[in-house]
């Protein structure tokens, strides 16, 4: 391995990748100049700036920076902290797309910001626009004990393939691909335009189970299975076939019906797949085959970090848990088993009680970068649940890490619990929103501030979207909250029974929307119904599945009346 590839576990840009990103910055600088000179109309400029991550929001421009498949280095995190401090208000917002958004950006500064990002091999390419967006995956990729295939390898291949794709840069609508390499599916693949489950067959070959037509927004759909097995070599050909059918037949008359899920729904999955299969049969073969040498070369870039040879049992770790119950509780909620003995994956909660979900200050980003250097080979991940992950922590160092995290308010022991809320920026920032999401999240979080109570409630997801575009993924939460506008007043519609995992499901509406001030009490009422009916070991979603929606409905509207 040459020095140009840098530390293992992170795809390091080589000279060609860097040249591309710098050229792209200059291209955008030129586009801004042409817009200012009147050579591009605002209508023509808009998709160009969107494909460089720049949105015009309520109060300012928002810049959405790509964190490809949610993995970044400590150097990159420090640069984000710096940009936050110099060009924003000292903080940034991690999103459900594993990206980072700055909400207070000046248009004139964006080419320079993109230049600063390019210096650390970062960019905002295709984080918006009607093109193939940042590919997302499991935040524990390359580390989780239950992983079958490292999805980063294929996510990186998809990143390259989709970058400035000549045929698919002006699609009917945005296009999101997620890939998981573990049977647990922590990437919510079934609610994406294309979801890939990487797996191995009996001959130990790699292939993909392909799901298509999932998505949230105004018309939520769980994806349909397109193929149980597409061999690795044909993966890109199959995706090209799907995209080509979508680009030709996807609706362009109504932006609300332009996503591939509507095409799949209107044609029916059988007819849709007839088109895809015909295209695939034509284009598969040598020209479109994925070269095994290339896969191997990218795999080498994602080799595991130099993990020490440790025993599985760690006496120091066990002793720390036994003597420090607060640590033990954090371990129970905020860690996941690592594939290597003696190591563990730690989630850093960006959901302090009463905080803004996904927000991190520049100081926190720098602290995470330093901790990543000292505890996890300088590597950080962004989870789609809007938390951060240090994926390769020695168990015997975990108590020391936790102690330091507490000092930076990054150790809230609430992962997967009721206050680990996903929320979009909502009407506080977003030009599309009908209602605020952040204060609702804060209100619920404060209502359930008692962490012992949260632990007693157990595994329960709450997601909040400020409008029907569903950036907060409310449809797939156990309890989903959707902001709606009723004659200028913010109301919230509540759904129950959604699930983002391998058993993906869209939640059902419980009843009429409620005013903002009643939402925290309503959520508490739903939780109390669950606790009342819960049998041993049941999660909220299990109890709901067993007793149905009716008891929740009755209680909620009795409580609200």
């Amino acid at each position: 391995m040459t020095s140009s590839t840098g530390p293992v576990g992170l795809y390091q840009y080589d000279a060609v990748d860097r040249e591309f990103v710098h050229e792209r910055v200059e291209q955008f600088r030129g586009q801004v100049e042409r817009r200012l000179a009147g050579d591009l109309t605002e209508d023509e400029f808009k998709p160009l700036r969107l494909m460089n991550g720049l949105y015009l929001q309520l109060h300012a421009y928002m810049l959405r920076i790509a964190v490809p498949y949610g993995v970044l280095s400590s150097t990159q995190m420090r640069r984000l902290a710096h940009i936050g401090r110099v060009h924003d208000k000292g903080y940034g917002h991690f999103t459900t797309r594993q990206n980072l958004q700055f909400n207070w950006i000046k248009l004139a500064e964006t080419p320079d910001i993109l230049g600063e990002l390019a210096d650390v091999n970062m960019h905002a390419i295709q984080t918006s626009g009607n093109c193939i967006r940042n590919v997302t995956t499991d935040q524990f990729c390359g580390a989780a004990a239950d992983e079958v295939i490292d999805p980063r390898v294929y996510a990186e291949i998809l990143r390259q393939w989709s970058t400035n794709h000549p045929e698919f840069s002006f699609l009917p609508r945005k296009f999101k691909i997620a890939i998981s390499g573990s049977p647990a599916d922590r990437a919510a693949v079934k609610v994406h335009d294309i979801g890939l489950l990487a797996k191995r067959n009996a001959e130990d070959e790699v292939g993909f189970e392909v799901w298509v037509g999932g998505g949230l927004g105004r018309s939520p759909f769980v994806a349909k299975k397109a193929r149980d097995w597409v061999p690795e070599a044909d993966g890109l050909a199959y995706l090209e076939a799907i995209l080509r059918v979508y680009n030709q037949f996807g609706r362009r008359d109504n932006m609300y019906k332009a996503r591939i899920k509507i095409l799949v729904h209107e044609l029916g999955i059988e007819k849709f797949l007839t088109h895809v299969d015909a295209e695939f049969a034509r284009i598969r073969g040598p020209k479109f085959a994925l070269d095994p040498e290339l896969v191997a070369a990218i795999q080498a870039r994602f080799a595991p970090p130099p993990l020490a040879d440790l025993p599985g049992h760690c006496p120091e770790f066990e002793a720390a848990k036994a003597s420090d119950p607060a640590f033990a509780r954090w371990v129970a909620t905020n860690t996941v088993a690592h594939k290597a003995p003696g190591y563990i994956c730690a989630t850093l909660s960006l959901k302090p009680i009463g905080g803004i979900p996904g927000d991190a200050t520049s100081e926190q980003m720098e602290a995470v970068a330093d901790l990543a250097d000292r505890y996890s080979f300088g590597e950080i991940r962004v989870a789609h649940e809007q938390n951060l992950v240090l994926a390769h922590v020695r168990k015997d160092a975990l108590h020391a890490l936790w102690t330091e995290l507490k000092a930076h308010d990054l150790a809230t022991p609430n992962i997967g619990l009721v206050s680990d809320i996903i929320a979009c920026p909502g009407l506080d920032y977003c030009a599309l929103a009908n209602a605020r999401a952040i204060p609702i999240a804060q209100g619920i979080s404060e209502r359930f501030a008692d962490l012992d109570r949260q632990l007693a409630i157990g595994d329960l997801s709450i997601n909040i979207s400020g409008c029907i575009n569903a950036c907060g993924h409310h449809h797939v939460a156990n309890i989903g909250i959707l902001g709606v506008d009723k004659k200028g007043v913010e109301f919230y519609q509540i759904t129950v029974g959604g699930n983002a995992g391998i058993d993906a499901a869209i939640g059902d509406i419980v009843g009429p929307a409620l005013p903002a001030e009643e939402v925290p009490a309503a959520i508490e009422a739903l939780v109390n119904v669950y606790l009342h009916y819960r049998k041993d070991g049941e999660r909220f979603i299990d109890t709901l599945g067993r007793i149905g929606i009716q008891p929740f409905k009755e209680t909620l509207y009795a409580a609200a009346a």
Partner: protein, 166 residues
């Protein structure tokens, strides 16, 4: 309206795009609508002069596939630059049907799309009279690296080994 080749060079337009209400002249290179081609195929095919067809957005490459031998030009209409269907049509004409004649982008396209159109197999682009040609020509060299195979540079397999396109 100026016509640019895939190299960026401005060239004279040998073709006339004929509205449906105008009679087809006996000689000269003309482009007729797909509708007219379908209705008057017999007469038009017997004509002893170059003939092209203008595909409206939404038409497929397969709509003219049986006639490609007889067509010297296929024009793709982009009613809105955001309507990217023409990129697929161009690519299918080249890759699937092996069309070797001229493929022309007409209608609303912007300079930033020029290199993408070329990579999908488009050979000429009709640009507005007001266009600054230097911007269109510069657009071809702005990004010199491509991560995926398209029509331009056929020889190599889809390798994702990044290669120079400009």
């Amino acid at each position: 309206m100026p016509l640019l080749r895939e190299t960026g060079e401005a060239v004279a337009d040998a073709w006339t795009i004929l509205p449906d209400d105008r009679p087809v002249p006996a000689g000269g290179a003309v482009v007729v609508s797909l509708k007219r081609w379908r209705e008057e195929r017999e007469t038009l095919a017997g004509r002893d002069a170059p003939l092209g067809v203008l595909l409206p957005s939404g038409a497929l490459a397969s709509d003219v596939a049986p006639d490609l031998q007889r067509l010297g030009l296929i024009a793709l209409d982009f009613p809105k630059f955001r309507d990217g269907r023409g990129f697929t049509v161009a690519r299918e004409l080249r890759e699937r049907f092996g069309y070797t004649g001229e493929i022309r982008a007409t209608g609303h396209v912007i300079a930033d799309q020029f290199p993408l159109l070329v990579r999908c197999g488009v050979s000429t682009v009709q640009v507005p009279d007001t266009a600054k040609l230097d911007q269109w020509q510069a657009a071809l060299g702005t990004l010199t690296i491509a991560y995926q195979k398209a029509v331009a540079g056929e020889e190599l397999p889809l390798s994702l080994r990044r290669f120079k396109v400009a």
